[in-house]
């Protein structure tokens, strides 16, 4: 039995046992461990132990797959690569769940939660491993259903249920499309489209991402982590594993479609992240952006293979791989840190937070750093990926052929624009949560955040640092794996190219890391000089109010809100974002009241889904009219149909 099967079985077993024990009141209430912030009950312990042991059991095989030096293991490598975030995020979100499920939840609800949590993790593992379409489909469907249950965990809120149902529909549609993909093998193009749509649904492709923001917002924080950091990636696994391998001739088509989906996806994701007020929703849209960029990387890679530019392809694949891992860990971390904020304040609305740095210093540092990293700033994991993709795109731009230059240019500019918009979005988020003065009573509440949650955050930061430092070594390995996978697509010998590109990537990432180190050293030097030679006027720098123009009664309202911070950009891109403003203007010379409310509905919902639904409804109403109940009308329809068939028959 392979470790993975063992792990899956262990996790499922723990899940079932946990559920069973939860039904029994005595065993459900059995406290195993009592720690400062809560209690660990027996069922939870079993579930937790199952998850953690199971996931840890995969680590050795995963590590072997990642570090084995021979090419035939590349399939293994890819699997291991997708397993890596699941392991990290799975363990940490399981630990976070312990603190999340405090006394306010009944033992039964906790048991149910753990059951679905474990089952989702198990199904995710199975999806990465399934070799047979039927097993894959079953695992895929199971993953969808169990995570659906997780999303509707907080079923009392109406919008949560709404989001959960949309998610359910998306999962079912995705499953149906994949089924078509697997069993309609005769038409390659049809298979391809079904596959793209089916996997795209999971990976948050533009327009198909409709389920994503709502369900991330609705799900309990650890479940959001699981969804955003573990599950969403699996869409790409599906594409790589099931869509390309059967038919290598699809590579250029795949490349173009990924690129064409990826670029608008990335841009739309980050655009819609900008005006969001709900922290989790903002992170969800940022996931759409990141998935778009990963799709760009993969797509550009496949295209470059088509152009017979292995150097570009390898760089892009490595970029996509690093981006995937970086995004999973960063997004997982950000969701968990968001939960800290929620714990401390009971508020997720950016415009009502503020000044949390003083309440949650550790969370503040971690969130700010992670936010900077996920917007692609150095030294972040995403930056390591993006620089590789930039270099790849630049090499494409430098090419002679227009067919190469145009997509490369588009990719290059998309990357740049997404990057700078992401900086805006995340500086808005971290500034609005942590900096300035509290904007509401909630932000001043300072409720206790369980230390376990904080430790999960620290663990995430350590993992991020490890993978950051490891990126110069991981990038060449990613290249190896992709070469092994797609060697057949490339006509020339890949060995030499691979060697050169691997060296390039390693050198580039190494140099970037040393630059970052240099900045760090320069900073420390400057700091020393600042402390020693440019003294403050007193030993402890004096503290005063922020400059308030000498007004006698400054208030916390006199600072920018998150919405105000991005207002100019939102106005500028209003034709795209279509913000819904409910403004009551001050009327007359002496107005009684005025108010302002801005919300941004999902673009795809407004432009695509709602019209589609409306159209379907109208079609249904129209067709309903045909069913008038008059016999002669039915006869007429019958005759006209027959007539039409006749004419068709003759024409043939």
């Amino acid at each position: 039995m392979s470790p993975l099967i063992f792990a899956i079985l262990l996790i499922i077993f723990a899940a079932l046992l946990c559920l069973l024990l939860s039904f029994n009141e005595r065993s459900a209430g059995l406290v195993v461990a009592d720690f400062s912030s809560g209690q660990l009950h027996l069922p939870a312990l079993i579930a937790l132990a199952g998850t953690i042991l199971g996931l840890l059991a995969i680590v050795p095989s995963c590590a072997i797959a990642l570090f084995r030096d021979t090419l035939p293991g590349c399939g293994e490598f890819m699997r291991a690569w997708f397993l890596l975030p699941i392991i990290c995020v799975g363990i940490l979100s399981a630990l976070h769940s312990i603190a999340y499920l405090d006394k306010s939840f009944s033992p039964l609800r906790r048991g149910v939660y753990w059951f679905f949590f474990n089952m989702t993790v198990a199904m995710m593992l199975l999806v990465t491993q399934a070799e047979h379409p039927v097993i894959f489909l079953l695992a895929w469907e199971g993953m969808g259903l169990f995570s659906f249950a997780l999303i509707m965990f907080d079923y009392k809120q109406k919008e949560n249920m709404h989001a959960a149902w949309i998610y359910f529909l998306a999962c079912q549609a995705g499953g149906a499309l994949l089924m078509l993909m697997f069993f309609a093998g005769a038409f390659p193009l049809f298979v391809f489209i079904c596959g793209m749509l089916g996997f795209g649904l999971k990976a948050g492709a533009p327009i198909l991402h409709i389920w994503l923001p709502g369900s991330y917002q609705a799900a309990p924080a650890p479940a959001s982590v699981l969804l955003s950091a573990g599950m969403i990636n699996l869409g790409f696994l599906g594409i790589l594993r099931w869509l390309v391998l059967p038919d290598p001739a699809l590579a250029p088509l795949l490349g173009y479609s990924l690129l064409i989906c990826g670029m608008p996806g990335a841009l739309l994701g980050i655009f819609f992240a900008m005006p969001q007020k709900n922290l989790k929703r903002l992170l969800a849209y940022s996931s759409v952006e990141n998935m778009g960029l990963i799709a760009c990387g993969l797509g550009f890679g496949f295209l470059s293979i088509h152009w017979q530019r292995a150097d570009i392809a390898l760089l892009s694949f490595a970029a996509a791989g690093l981006h995937l891992l970086g995004h999973s860990l960063l997004k997982g971390n950000l969701f968990l840190l968001t939960d800290h904020v929620y714990r401390a304040s009971g508020e997720l609305n950016l415009d009502k937070l503020g000044g949390m740095q003083k309440i949650l210093p550790g969370t503040g540092y971690a969130y700010t750093l992670s936010a900077m990293a996920i917007s692609g700033l150095p030294p972040g994991n995403i930056f390591m990926a993006e620089i590789l993709l930039y270099v790849a795109a630049a090499r494409g731009i430098a090419s002679d052929k227009l067919s190469v230059v145009a997509p490369s240019l588009a990719l290059f500019l998309t990357l740049a624009f997404c990057g700078v918009l992401a900086m805006t979005v995340f500086s808005k988020a971290s500034a609005a949560i942590f900096l300035g003065e509290p904007r509401s009573k909630a932000a001043r509440r300072n409720l206790a955040v369980p230390p376990l949650m904080k430790r999960c955050g620290i663990a995430f930061m350590v993992l991020l640092l490890i993978f950051l430092c490891g990126s110069p070594f991981l990038a060449p390995r990613l290249m190896h794996a992709f070469v092994g996978q797609y060697e057949s697509l490339y006509s020339a010998d890949l060995g030499a190219e691979l060697y050169a590109s691997a060296l390039d990537a390693r050198r580039l990432l190494g140099l970037v890391l040393s630059c970052v180190l240099l900045v760090g050293m320069l900073f420390i030097l400057l700091w020393r000089v600042r402390r020693k030679y440019l003294p403050y006027s007193t030993a402890v720098p004096p503290r005063r109010f922020t400059w308030d123009c000498g007004f006698a009664q400054p208030t916390a309202r006199m600072q920018y809100t998150g919405t105000a911070f991005v207002q100019p950009l939102v106005e500028l891109f209003a034709p795209l974002l279509r913000p819904v403003k409910k403004i009551l203007l001050p009327r007359g010379l002496f107005p009684k009241k005025a108010s302002y409310e801005l919300s941004c509905h999902d673009g795809s919902e407004q432009i695509f889904w709602r019209p589609l639904v409306n159209f379907t409804v109208r079609l249904a109403i129209f067709s309903h009219r045909l069913q008038s109940g008059h016999l002669h009308l039915y006869v007429l329809m019958l005759i006209s149909a027959l007539l039409a068939l006749f004419i068709w028959g003759f024409a043939m």
């Binding site: 000044g355 740095q357 003083k358 210093p361 503040g364 700033l377 150095p378 620089i387 930039y390 270099v391 630049a394 731009i397 430098a398 227009l402 230059v405 290059f412 500019l413 624009f417 990057g419 700078v420 900086m423 805006t424 500086s427 971290s430 500034a431 609005a432 900096l435 300035g436 003065e437 390039d504 580039l508 140099l511 970037v512 630059c515 900045v519 760090g520 320069l522 900073f523 400057l526 700091w527 600042r530 440019l534 003294p535 403050y536 006027s537 007193t538 720098p541 004096p542 503290r543 005063r544 109010f545 922020t546 400059w547 006199m558 600072q559 920018y560 105000a564 207002q567 100019p568 950009l569």
Partner: protein, 306 residues
């Protein structure tokens, strides 16, 4: 030898960047018919500020005191990739362009965070404007980079800027001219110059960069002033490196020309500042979107006539 010239260029840049700001102020004064401050004024200001004490607001956290140092450190590291005095940087590598511009972006983001850290509405206003305009400017910047990559086939600062030499002037001078105009717009915008920002205004409500640093004083403000001067120098350097074909000048004549070029560009900035009125903020995006517009026209020209 060339290494030595590059190093001299780097050193002189670090030393002379406040002089460039001083020169612009002086010329602006002359333009409007008054003597203007001494060209050494920025040095006096920085030295004065470095000797003062600091006061921090109660609202602020770790960001505010660290931001100026982080910005300066990032800027210093970034400038190591520039080919000073037309000599390729010894540290150049493929992709250092991205490091350069992302370090600059990092410096900007940390200063935006520092502004938000004060909880002041003025600083928030400045930060919001900075992010708005710089995101549009960044798009333009990368368009220009793409153009340069296309012409030089190189993706390091040294290769891009030194490569854009006599060759392009000879076969697509018009395209290069468009790009230079585009870059000059960026230079004005990124360095808070008229017609986008007014570095001399005293009105908080119309400021961008100055509003962000309202709560700074003492050595921190001195460092910020220096960083701003350095940033202006870096941008004029890039501009002059794009314009002047490398290889025409080498050694110390190159160094001399390099320094001279910065001051000539300073004169140009002063002319613009002395004669143009500021745009209203709603019009600035249009102006900034001219940058990608011009550059894309240049790229199309390049593709057509290459």
């Amino acid at each position: 030898m060339s290494m030595f010239v590059w190093f001299c260029g780097l050193l002189l840049s670090l030393l002379l960047c406040p002089l460039l700001s001083g020169l612009i102020c002086k010329l602006k004064g002359i333009f409007v018919g008054c003597p203007g401050p001494s060209v050494w004024q920025p040095y006096y200001d920085i030295i004065k500020l470095l000797r003062k004490g600091s006061v921090y607001s109660q609202t602020t956290t770790w960001v505010l005191p660290l931001a100026p140092l982080i910005s300066l450190a990032a800027m210093l590291c970034a400038m190591l990739f520039l080919p000073f005095a037309f000599v390729d940087s010894p540290l150049a590598f493929e992709g250092d362009v991205i490091v350069f511009f992302y370090f600059l972006a990092g410096a900007r983001v940390i200063s935006v965070l520092a502004a938000m850290d004060t909880g002041s509405s003025f600083a928030g206003m400045g930060a919001s404007r900075e992010m708005q305009f710089s995101s549009l400017a960044e798009l333009g910047m990368f368009c220009i980079l793409a153009f340069l990559v296309m012409t030089t086939g190189n993706f390091s600062m040294s290769g891009l800027l030194n490569g854009a030499g006599i060759l392009i002037w000879s076969y697509s001078g018009t395209a290069l001219l468009l790009v230079i105009i585009a870059f000059f717009i960026l230079l004005l915008s990124e360095n808070c110059r008229v017609p986008i920002d007014d570095p001399d205004t005293h009105l908080e409500l119309t400021m961008i960069h100055e509003a962000m640093v309202l709560d700074y004083g003492g050595p921190d403000l001195g460092i910020i002033h220096y960083t701003a001067a350095l940033k202006l120098w870096l941008f004029t350097s890039i501009c002059s490196l794009i314009i002047v074909p490398a290889g025409l000048f080498s050694g110390f004549s190159g160094l001399l020309l390099f320094i001279l070029a910065q001051f000539l560009l300073g004169v140009l900035v002063a002319i613009v500042e002395g004669t143009a009125a500021r745009f209203r903020f709603l019009k600035v995006p249009q102006f900034l979107l001219a940058v990608p517009g011009l550059t894309i026209i240049a790229i199309i020209m390049l593709l057509l006539f290459k």
